[in-house]
Symmetry: C2
Subunit: 192 residues, 2 copies
């Protein structure tokens, strides 16, 4: 939903035409996370299909401009006022990978963890550099975005270390849990 609502949000300050959305989307997210232009048009089409935006005629240059509809406005408000729930979050690929590695016979978990750690730290360094650059251009949005990435990576590295030490303490391998009773989720799982 990120791209979809991200684009929708752009219509909050007036009608836009297709290509414009790309530029603005990337600008507002600080240039990190480029969007393939094609995706703009597909997403726009789907927004239109769902009645959240509608063509509103052509502007001076003859481009077809789209504007937010009432339902669109409502959907956007809902998006903003509804927190991201746990069920909305994508499965964490790294966590799955590591757990599988730790419970799969013949896999050297420690190597997997270390390789990931190197990569994660490298990424953190890169993002920090970019952050400094964004800061110098007073790109506040870009700085915040990069901060979020760095914060997430810090947690990731902490977790990696935690996993490594846990696994080592257990002799390099975790027991594949046998028929353990499933714990209930904190909230019900609804449509994603």
């Amino acid at each position: 939903m990120s791209v979809k609502f991200g684009l929708l949000a752009l219509f909050a300050d007036g009608p836009k035409y297709g290509y414009q959305l790309r530029t603005e989307f990337e600008a507002r997210t600080g240039g990190t996370w480029p969007v393939n232009v094609g995706q703009i048009y597909t997403t726009l089409e789907r927004l239109e299909r769902d009645g959240l935006v509608a063509a509103e005629g052509t502007n001076d240059e003859g481009r077809v401009v789209y504007g937010m509809t009432e339902p669109g406005r409502a959907a956007l408000d809902t998006w903003f006022s509804t927190p991201v729930a746990d069920t909305d979050r994508p499965r964490n690929e790294l966590a799955i990978k590591l757990l599988m590695a730790a419970t799969t016979p013949g896999v050297d978990v420690t190597s997997v963890v270390r390789r990931q750690r190197t990569e994660s730290v490298r990424l953190m360094r890169d993002y920090t550099t970019l952050r400094r650059a964004a800061d110098e251009v007073d790109d506040v949005a870009g700085v915040l975005l990069l901060d979020s990435l760095v914060f997430a990576l810090e947690g990731e590295v902490r977790w990696l270390d935690h996993v490594e030490s846990t696994v080592l303490r257990r002799g390099g391998r975790l027991p594949a849990p046998t028929r353990s009773r499933r714990a209930a989720r904190p909230t019900e799982r609804h449509a994603r």
Copy 2:
């Protein structure tokens, strides 16, 4: 790719039949992240289509069992030995939402942040409780999984606070960056 490779990994210790994959997948990830059974079969079908697993006959109960093929084995090894890169990571919906909120006129960013903070903290509490439960049953995998969620949420809350103070310092609104030059990504964006 999480579910796909997650299932593939289950074949590392011998052939399995469909339904079995569901139980084992959930067990190995500590019961958090349930999988709709239907998805097991669709994913299995796709794994077979791609030649990573193959039907290997029937077991005692007459169930069709699948096994990992050589290409499958290779794909799994690659998955384990290749760190998750930045380009593999899904866009962070929360980050996009907040940046959009902060640059969209008429949106009360602080409310958005606070609501999310409440929800994130609540989630953290829930996960911590579940963690304790998993710990008591010696479900190591489950504990680690929940740790990863908690670590991530800690970073998220830190970031939320950071955003709130940044936005407040700027008078409750961020400037929509105008035509800022796009920063290059640390690594090239390749197929996701």
